[in-house]
Protein backbone atom coordinates (compact mmCIF):
# COMPACT_ATOMS: atom_id res chain seq x y z
CA UNK A 1 0.00 0.00 0.00
CA UNK A 2 2.89 2.38 0.70
CA UNK A 3 3.99 2.00 -2.91
CA UNK A 4 0.59 3.22 -4.11
CA UNK A 5 0.52 6.27 -1.93
CA UNK A 6 4.07 7.49 -2.32
CA UNK A 7 4.62 11.18 -1.82
CA UNK A 8 5.59 12.25 -5.40
CA UNK A 9 2.32 10.86 -6.77
CA UNK A 10 0.26 12.78 -4.28
CA UNK A 11 2.21 15.96 -5.00
CA UNK A 12 1.76 15.51 -8.76
CA UNK A 13 -1.97 14.82 -8.40
CA UNK A 14 -2.54 17.81 -6.16
CA UNK A 15 -0.48 20.05 -8.41
CA UNK A 16 -2.87 19.38 -11.30
CA UNK A 17 -5.90 19.95 -9.21
CA UNK A 18 -4.69 22.98 -7.32
CA UNK A 19 -2.80 24.60 -10.19
CA UNK A 20 0.44 24.88 -8.25
CA UNK A 21 3.94 24.52 -9.70
CA UNK A 22 5.22 20.99 -9.55
CA UNK A 23 8.85 20.00 -9.73
CA UNK A 24 8.42 16.23 -9.75
CA UNK A 25 7.02 16.09 -13.28
CA UNK A 26 7.53 17.90 -16.57
CA UNK A 27 3.76 17.94 -17.08
CA UNK A 28 2.25 21.43 -16.98
CA UNK A 29 -0.26 22.13 -14.20
CA UNK A 30 -3.91 22.46 -15.13
CA UNK A 31 -5.31 25.90 -15.82
CA UNK A 32 -8.18 26.08 -13.38
CA UNK A 33 -10.70 28.81 -14.12
CA UNK A 34 -13.95 29.98 -12.60
CA UNK A 35 -17.13 29.24 -14.56
CA UNK A 36 -17.87 32.89 -15.34
CA UNK A 37 -14.73 34.81 -14.68
CA UNK A 38 -11.04 33.87 -14.47
CA UNK A 39 -9.78 33.90 -10.92
CA UNK A 40 -6.91 36.21 -11.80
CA UNK A 41 -9.44 38.91 -12.74
CA UNK A 42 -10.96 38.88 -9.28
CA UNK A 43 -9.62 40.70 -6.23
CA UNK A 44 -7.75 38.31 -3.94
CA UNK A 45 -10.49 38.08 -1.29
CA UNK A 46 -12.99 36.82 -3.92
CA UNK A 47 -10.72 34.19 -5.47
CA UNK A 48 -11.69 30.62 -4.89
CA UNK A 49 -9.70 28.71 -2.37
CA UNK A 50 -7.72 25.70 -3.53
CA UNK A 51 -9.97 23.44 -1.51
CA UNK A 52 -13.05 24.80 -3.28
CA UNK A 53 -11.37 24.23 -6.67
CA UNK A 54 -10.64 20.65 -5.70
CA UNK A 55 -14.23 20.11 -4.55
CA UNK A 56 -15.58 21.54 -7.83
CA UNK A 57 -13.52 19.04 -9.79
CA UNK A 58 -14.60 15.90 -7.99
CA UNK A 59 -16.89 13.50 -9.84
CA UNK A 60 -19.11 12.77 -6.90
CA UNK A 61 -20.94 9.81 -8.41
CA UNK A 62 -17.71 7.98 -9.26
CA UNK A 63 -16.23 8.83 -5.88
CA UNK A 64 -19.34 7.45 -4.17
CA UNK A 65 -19.23 4.18 -6.15
CA UNK A 66 -15.52 3.78 -5.42
CA UNK A 67 -15.80 4.43 -1.68
CA UNK A 68 -19.20 2.96 -0.72
CA UNK A 69 -18.50 -0.37 -2.48
CA UNK A 70 -15.24 -1.12 -0.58
CA UNK A 71 -16.88 0.17 2.62
CA UNK A 72 -19.68 -2.40 2.31
CA UNK A 73 -17.06 -5.07 1.51
CA UNK A 74 -15.04 -4.15 4.62
CA UNK A 75 -18.23 -4.18 6.74
CA UNK A 76 -19.05 -7.64 5.40
CA UNK A 77 -15.59 -9.00 6.11
CA UNK A 78 -15.82 -7.76 9.70
CA UNK A 79 -19.46 -8.52 10.53
CA UNK A 80 -21.15 -10.95 8.13
CA UNK A 81 -20.49 -14.64 8.45
CA UNK A 82 -19.16 -15.99 5.16
CA UNK A 83 -21.10 -18.97 3.80
CA UNK A 84 -19.25 -21.45 1.63
CA UNK A 85 -21.74 -21.36 -1.28
CA UNK A 86 -21.85 -17.57 -1.35
CA UNK A 87 -18.06 -17.30 -1.37
CA UNK A 88 -17.87 -19.85 -4.20
CA UNK A 89 -20.43 -17.83 -6.17
CA UNK A 90 -18.54 -14.60 -5.43
CA UNK A 91 -15.33 -16.10 -6.83
CA UNK A 92 -17.13 -17.36 -9.93
CA UNK A 93 -18.81 -13.98 -10.43
CA UNK A 94 -15.45 -12.26 -9.98
CA UNK A 95 -14.02 -14.32 -12.84
CA UNK A 96 -17.12 -13.43 -14.92
CA UNK A 97 -16.58 -9.70 -14.30
CA UNK A 98 -12.90 -9.86 -15.10
CA UNK A 99 -13.58 -11.77 -18.31
CA UNK A 100 -15.85 -9.04 -19.58
CA UNK A 101 -13.64 -6.15 -18.58
CA UNK A 102 -10.21 -7.56 -19.33
CA UNK A 103 -11.01 -9.77 -22.31
CA UNK A 104 -14.21 -8.53 -23.82
CA UNK A 105 -13.49 -4.82 -23.73
CA UNK A 106 -9.80 -4.77 -24.72
CA UNK A 107 -9.55 -7.87 -26.85
CA UNK A 108 -12.71 -7.54 -28.88
CA UNK A 109 -13.53 -3.86 -28.80
CA UNK A 110 -10.21 -2.03 -28.49
CA UNK A 111 -7.00 -3.74 -29.35
CA UNK A 112 -7.77 -6.97 -31.11
CA UNK A 113 -11.00 -6.40 -32.94
CA UNK A 114 -9.53 -6.98 -36.40
CA UNK A 115 -8.14 -10.32 -35.41
CA UNK A 116 -11.36 -11.30 -33.71
CA UNK A 117 -13.54 -10.26 -36.64
CA UNK A 118 -11.39 -11.87 -39.31
CA UNK A 119 -11.44 -15.18 -37.47
CA UNK A 120 -15.04 -15.18 -36.40
CA UNK A 121 -16.66 -14.94 -39.80
Amino acid sequence: MLAILNAPDIIVLLSYVLDTPCSTSDYKPLQVSLPLCPSSALPPFLRMSSTLQLIQRIRWFNLAVLTITPAIAAYGVCVVKAQRDTVAFAIAYYVFSMLGKNHGYPKIYSANNYYYRSHSR
Binding site: P8, L13, L30, I72, A73, G100, I108, Y109, A111
Partner: protein
Protein backbone atom coordinates in the same frame (compact mmCIF):
# COMPACT_ATOMS: atom_id res chain seq x y z
CA UNK B 1 -1.51 -5.55 -20.61
CA UNK B 2 -3.63 -7.92 -18.60
CA UNK B 3 -2.31 -10.94 -16.81
CA UNK B 4 -3.12 -13.96 -14.76
CA UNK B 5 -5.81 -16.57 -14.89
CA UNK B 6 -8.37 -14.49 -16.75
CA UNK B 7 -5.78 -13.74 -19.44
CA UNK B 8 -5.45 -17.43 -20.16
CA UNK B 9 -9.19 -18.04 -20.04
CA UNK B 10 -9.94 -14.99 -22.18
CA UNK B 11 -7.49 -15.92 -24.87
CA UNK B 12 -8.64 -19.48 -24.76
CA UNK B 13 -12.28 -18.48 -24.99
CA UNK B 14 -11.77 -15.98 -27.75
CA UNK B 15 -9.53 -18.07 -29.89
CA UNK B 16 -11.45 -21.25 -29.43
CA UNK B 17 -14.86 -19.72 -30.27
CA UNK B 18 -14.20 -18.70 -33.81
CA UNK B 19 -17.42 -19.80 -35.41
CA UNK B 20 -19.81 -17.10 -36.53
CA UNK B 21 -22.64 -18.68 -34.56
CA UNK B 22 -20.77 -18.24 -31.30
CA UNK B 23 -20.03 -14.61 -32.01
CA UNK B 24 -23.31 -12.97 -31.03
CA UNK B 25 -23.90 -14.99 -27.83
CA UNK B 26 -20.25 -14.50 -26.89
CA UNK B 27 -20.56 -10.75 -27.44
CA UNK B 28 -23.72 -10.66 -25.30
CA UNK B 29 -21.95 -12.66 -22.60
CA UNK B 30 -18.92 -10.38 -22.61
CA UNK B 31 -21.00 -7.20 -22.67
CA UNK B 32 -23.03 -8.47 -19.70
CA UNK B 33 -19.80 -9.40 -17.92
CA UNK B 34 -18.40 -5.97 -18.75
CA UNK B 35 -21.46 -4.28 -17.26
CA UNK B 36 -21.04 -6.39 -14.11
CA UNK B 37 -17.58 -4.89 -13.59
CA UNK B 38 -19.16 -1.37 -13.31
CA UNK B 39 -16.29 0.38 -15.06
CA UNK B 40 -18.12 2.07 -17.91
CA UNK B 41 -19.79 0.87 -21.10
CA UNK B 42 -17.79 -1.09 -23.64
CA UNK B 43 -18.10 1.77 -26.13
CA UNK B 44 -16.88 4.41 -23.65
CA UNK B 45 -14.12 2.16 -22.32
CA UNK B 46 -12.83 1.09 -25.74
CA UNK B 47 -12.83 4.69 -26.99
CA UNK B 48 -10.71 5.82 -24.04
CA UNK B 49 -8.52 2.78 -24.33
CA UNK B 50 -7.81 3.38 -28.02
CA UNK B 51 -6.83 6.96 -27.18
CA UNK B 52 -4.60 5.58 -24.47
CA UNK B 53 -2.82 3.26 -26.92
CA UNK B 54 -2.63 5.87 -29.66
CA UNK B 55 -1.30 8.72 -27.52
CA UNK B 56 0.34 6.85 -24.64
CA UNK B 57 1.69 9.17 -21.94
CA UNK B 58 0.78 12.43 -23.68
CA UNK B 59 -1.84 15.08 -22.90
CA UNK B 60 -4.28 13.16 -25.12
CA UNK B 61 -3.93 9.96 -23.09
CA UNK B 62 -6.79 9.78 -20.55
CA UNK B 63 -4.52 7.92 -18.13
CA UNK B 64 -1.24 9.62 -18.88
CA UNK B 65 1.52 7.86 -16.93
CA UNK B 66 3.38 11.14 -16.38
CA UNK B 67 0.60 12.30 -14.11
CA UNK B 68 1.64 9.75 -11.51
CA UNK B 69 0.47 6.36 -10.33
CA UNK B 70 -2.22 7.80 -8.09
CA UNK B 71 -3.73 9.69 -11.03
CA UNK B 72 -3.63 6.76 -13.46
CA UNK B 73 -4.96 4.40 -10.80
CA UNK B 74 -7.88 6.41 -9.49
CA UNK B 75 -7.48 10.17 -10.04
CA UNK B 76 -8.66 10.11 -13.66
CA UNK B 77 -11.94 8.53 -12.51
CA UNK B 78 -12.81 10.92 -9.73
CA UNK B 79 -11.37 14.27 -10.83
CA UNK B 80 -12.48 16.34 -13.80
CA UNK B 81 -9.47 17.23 -15.91
CA UNK B 82 -9.00 20.00 -18.47
CA UNK B 83 -7.17 17.51 -20.66
CA UNK B 84 -9.46 15.42 -22.86
CA UNK B 85 -8.87 12.07 -24.55
CA UNK B 86 -7.45 12.35 -28.05
CA UNK B 87 -9.63 11.33 -31.01
CA UNK B 88 -9.59 7.66 -31.98
CA UNK B 89 -11.32 5.71 -34.74
CA UNK B 90 -14.46 4.12 -33.29
CA UNK B 91 -16.47 3.90 -36.52
CA UNK B 92 -16.66 0.11 -36.18
CA UNK B 93 -18.11 0.43 -32.67
CA UNK B 94 -20.63 3.06 -33.80
CA UNK B 95 -21.97 0.54 -36.32
CA UNK B 96 -22.04 -2.31 -33.79
CA UNK B 97 -25.66 -2.48 -32.61
CA UNK B 98 -24.94 -4.65 -29.57
CA UNK B 99 -22.19 -2.33 -28.33
CA UNK B 100 -24.41 0.71 -28.90
CA UNK B 101 -27.32 -0.94 -27.11
CA UNK B 102 -25.14 -1.68 -24.08
CA UNK B 103 -23.82 1.89 -24.17
CA UNK B 104 -27.33 3.39 -24.25
CA UNK B 105 -28.61 1.22 -21.42
CA UNK B 106 -25.36 1.05 -19.49
CA UNK B 107 -26.66 2.51 -16.21
CA UNK B 108 -29.52 0.02 -15.58
CA UNK B 109 -27.39 -2.82 -16.99
CA UNK B 110 -24.50 -2.13 -14.60
CA UNK B 111 -26.97 -1.73 -11.74
CA UNK B 112 -28.46 -5.14 -12.56
CA UNK B 113 -25.30 -7.11 -13.41
CA UNK B 114 -23.04 -5.24 -10.98
CA UNK B 115 -25.24 -5.15 -7.88
CA UNK B 116 -28.70 -6.75 -8.24
CA UNK B 117 -27.81 -10.12 -9.78
CA UNK B 118 -24.91 -10.92 -7.37
CA UNK B 119 -27.26 -10.14 -4.46
CA UNK B 120 -30.22 -12.07 -5.87
CA UNK B 121 -28.35 -15.29 -6.66
CA UNK B 122 -27.00 -16.04 -3.14
CA UNK B 123 -30.16 -14.53 -1.64
CA UNK B 124 -32.61 -16.72 -3.54
CA UNK B 125 -30.49 -19.87 -3.82
CA UNK B 126 -28.75 -19.98 -0.42
CA UNK B 127 -30.97 -17.56 1.55
CA UNK B 128 -27.81 -15.54 2.23
CA UNK B 129 -28.83 -11.96 1.38
CA UNK B 130 -26.18 -10.19 3.46
CA UNK B 131 -23.50 -12.47 2.07
CA UNK B 132 -24.68 -11.48 -1.41
CA UNK B 133 -24.59 -7.76 -0.61
CA UNK B 134 -21.21 -7.84 1.12
CA UNK B 135 -19.25 -10.55 -0.67
CA UNK B 136 -20.48 -11.35 -4.18
CA UNK B 137 -21.59 -7.76 -4.86
CA UNK B 138 -19.40 -5.32 -2.89
CA UNK B 139 -16.24 -7.31 -2.15
CA UNK B 140 -16.09 -8.85 -5.63
CA UNK B 141 -16.68 -5.47 -7.28
CA UNK B 142 -14.14 -3.61 -5.13
CA UNK B 143 -11.51 -6.27 -5.85
CA UNK B 144 -12.30 -6.21 -9.60
CA UNK B 145 -11.98 -2.41 -9.60
CA UNK B 146 -8.61 -2.43 -7.87
CA UNK B 147 -7.11 -5.33 -9.82
CA UNK B 148 -8.17 -4.22 -13.28
CA UNK B 149 -6.94 -0.69 -12.67
CA UNK B 150 -3.49 -2.02 -11.98
CA UNK B 151 -3.27 -4.23 -15.03
CA UNK B 152 -5.19 -2.47 -17.77
Amino acid sequence: MCSGLSHFIGYHRLWSHRSYNATIPLQVFLLAAGASAVQGSGYWWARSHRSHHRYTDTDLDPYNGKRGLLYTHIGWMIIKSDKHSGPSDVSDLKKDRLVQWQHRHYFPLSLFFGYALPVLVPGLLFDDWWGGVCFSAAFRLALAHQVSRFFC
